[in-house]
Symmetry: C2
Subunit: 239 residues, 2 copies
Amino acid sequence: MSTKPSLFLIPNLLGDVEVDTSLPRSVVEQVKTLRHFIVEDVRTTRRFLRRLDKSFPIDESTFGVLDRHTEAKDIPSLLQPLRKGHDMGVISEAGCPCVADPGADVVRVAHEEGFRVVPLVGPSSIILAQMASGLNGQSFAFVGYLPVEKDERRLAIRRLETRACTERQTQLFIETPYRNRRMFDDLLQACRRDTRLCIACDLTTEHEVVRTMSIADWKRRGCEELTDWDRRPTLFGLL
Amino acid sequence: MSTKPSLFLIPNLLGDVEVDTSLPRSVVEQVKTLRHFIVEDVRTTRRFLRRLDKSFPIDESTFGVLDRHTEAKDIPSLLQPLRKGHDMGVISEAGCPCVADPGADVVRVAHEEGFRVVPLVGPSSIILAQMASGLNGQSFAFVGYLPVEKDERRLAIRRLETRACTERQTQLFIETPYRNRRMFDDLLQACRRDTRLCIACDLTTEHEVVRTMSIADWKRRGCEELTDWDRRPTLFGLL
């Protein structure tokens, strides 16, 4: 093992769940050794660290902020503790850092400077949705958010459906929870009857629901099963 | 929570590592309650179950085999225990089931029959490689294996590079370990100098290496750092 300082990528919980449901013990132990973090939100990260360990020395820890407002020129300075010989951790708001968040930018700099980058095991809503979808897992893509504007969004849905169909590549995407129902309506209108749609909702929590049906079946059965859906983090998958 | 029987998707370890490095405690506890499994290889699965619990009642458990030789017509019968009211587990040879393996076919049938499908948290070499690559995590695709034949393979590499470049979508793929070095040579020949290549090797083990550089830098530095590379499971990423 290298003695060079390392940048650890630390998965966060996907909701209000017990730590033991989602993080291996040695991941928790690794996090407890760190005192320098790069995070999206300092307040929620402090809460997360206290969940891992009630006596985590938060006041002895440093927090650099990397969110969607961070400018590219400010990213290299976030790694200053690493250059001074300290291990660091990157923590996202939910799930795995550097997936569907701005974290990759700081990892890129770490690689350029030759630091060791260590990804830790934890929950990723994308991989959990892919697993449970029953859609092709030999080829799949995650494409983030679709456009909000109606016509652009329909066009994006049709493009994804075409790629799913011609390449047999599962297409996964997300939506802001309060727009879930609108996304559902748009998918039902834009997609072909035999396209399969997976909806994976509130993964790892007690409200978790994963359901895959053809568009025709979704039209017939509706989304009534998904109670309080407009407040629940959701992944959509097409094939 | 539903009392309907559930199909649990159980991640396996990625190599010879301690269980606590890769699986949350409650995942292990969940697996210990199950007696009916769908697996790729019965022998290695028995070994895995004994690692989770030395006294796991393997002789009281049933194992259906789902591998690349399984015919489509034989898949529905694998779920027979579920229809009789028993929870079941799907276990892959390494990492998350239904990702880069045939597991999705049985999950599809479970959805068609309305059973609950529950993905459990554990290591996925794909998501770990994506996290640690520093390549775009807002849009990425996993495409499995590339063709083995030389010309087809170069063409596939160029197509992936074009998509990575035009869509800013990270392209991830795998290779059989003994062909890793050949893949490396093909990538260096086929790709543009400024394309970034991530090599993620033996993830979660003590031999883990993740390195991202431009093709130009890989040409200059070589892959000497990757010792015994021809025996190590490896993910490749392009952007």
